[in-house]
């Protein structure tokens, strides 16, 4: 069972005062909460990595929690910040990772779960942007191939990918 808001707040006050035992319990509970938070947001094999990243951020920035304010929205804001950062890295440096890694190494269930969250976001994009992102960033087609398939010019494909990814990032940031 995950701790409730008053328990989190009490442990956090103690942790801010340097109580190591309270800090240990708090970090464990925060880890459980984060695991649930990320379960629907990232592929399963990335969860532990992301939880560890957020735990480090949580520890480093623990002085920014104000005891007069609720704890969980503060934690959720940090988790969301790291999640968005993680998505940016995935899109920027490793656009094909979802398709290639998951198809070869992970189970079908993991691939399906990763695609479900991505598809939900993609549905909110204009069709022409979603199609070229799907073709180039997920399926792995070249810009030229995507241009031929969609009838868009190559520069329009690039513009639509750029605008679509920007919108996706903005949508992710707005998720509360």
């Amino acid at each position: 069972m995950v701790a409730d808001e008053p328990t989190f707040a009490r442990l956090m006050v103690a942790a801010q005062d340097g109580d190591k035992a309270a800090g240990n319990v708090l970090l464990t509970e925060v880890g459980v909460w984060l695991e649930r938070y990320f379960r629907r947001r990232v592929p399963p094999h990335q969860i532990d990595d992301l939880v560890q990243e957020v735990l480090i951020a949580f520890y480093t920035k623990r002085a920014t929690w104000d005891p007069t304010r609720p704890f969980l929205p503060w934690l959720a804001a940090i988790a969301r910040y790291r999640w968005v950062d993680h998505l940016r890295k995935v899109y920027k440096h490793d656009g094909k990772e979802l398709m290639e890694d998951d198809a070869v190494e992970d189970s079908d269930e993991e691939v399906v779960m990763a695609r479900v969250s991505l598809d939900r976001l993609m549905k909110q994009l204009p069709d022409k942007q979603a199609r070229v992102i799907e073709m180039v960033k997920i399926t792995g087609l070249s810009i030229r191939e995507a241009a031929q398939k969609t009838g868009q010019s190559e520069s329009l494909v690039k513009v639509n990918i750029h605008r679509g990814l920007k919108k996706l990032a903005a949508m992710v940031e707005k998720v509360e």
């Binding site: 970090l27 880890g31 735990l55 951020a57 920035k61 002085a63 503060w74 940090i78 910040y81 509360e176």
Partner: protein
């Protein structure tokens, strides 16, 4: 602290290093930005001297209105900057943006005034046109206000780096608005030029310059 092979190892290491921390408080950030504004103002007075026309009734109404709007924008954006340093979810206030929109009325009014005065000016008369007034072209005030804004931007960035801003672009815009408005205000108290054209354009342009600078320069500096 680096990631560990298991989460349990990481938690044990972090808990072992758990030391008391001094909480980051918005009042500290507001105080730091207010102090930076004071430093910028005193530096401007030391360099350019205080304009006594402000207290002898010489200053135009336009001068007071512009500085009043700059002060309001400075207060609203400072409040936004310090709030943005603490992670939170939910709706965020738009007061700084509305304050910036209100201030934008000033340069727009100045440009309309200049254009309409010039269009209706009798160039055969001995009275000089608004475009012939040196104050209209005295751009240095915009530069000095922008430089003064650097002190406020520095203070804002230092505070944001202590905190944990989760919306970097917003923090960047707000830092720019605070730096531009308070920097301009710090310099404006030394400037004896108070015509509509001069005040409306050169006393407000640091806000625009710093808003763009803040958006472009600040996010990489406060990323964590």
């Amino acid at each position: 602290m680096e990631k560990q092979s298991t989460r349990e190892d990481l938690i044990a290491a972090l808990a072992q290093d758990m030391t008391p921390v001094e909480r980051v408080k918005p009042a500290q950030g507001a105080g730091l930005i207010a102090f930076a504004t004071l430093v910028a103002g005193v530096a401007c007075i030391a360099i350019f001297e205080f304009w006594t026309g402000m207290v002898t009734g010489e200053a135009s109404a336009f001068y007071w209105i512009t500085n009043g709007l700059l002060l309001l924008l400075g207060a609203a954006s400072t409040s936004g900057v310090v709030a943005s340093a603490l992670p939170r979810v939910g709706s965020r206030g738009n007061a700084p943006y509305w304050s910036a929109a209100m201030l934008a009325v000033v340069p727009i009014a100045a440009i309309i005034t200049v254009v309409s005065l010039e269009a209706n000016h009798d160039h055969s008369s001995a009275v000089p046109s608004v475009l012939a007034d040196p104050a209209t072209w005295y751009w240095e005030c915009g530069l000095y206000g922008t430089i003064a804004g650097g002190v406020i931007a520095l203070a804002s960035v230092l505070y944001l780096r202590r905190g944990a801003p989760v919306s970097l672009e917003r923090s960047g815009w707000l830092t720019g608005l605070a730096a531009g408005s308070l920097g301009a205000l710090a310099y404006n108290i030394t400037c004896p030029l108070d015509t509509v054209a001069h005040v409306g354009i050169w006393h407000t342009i640091p806000v625009l310059v710093w808003a763009v600078l803040g958006r472009l320069v600040v996010p990489p500096l406060i990323r964590w």
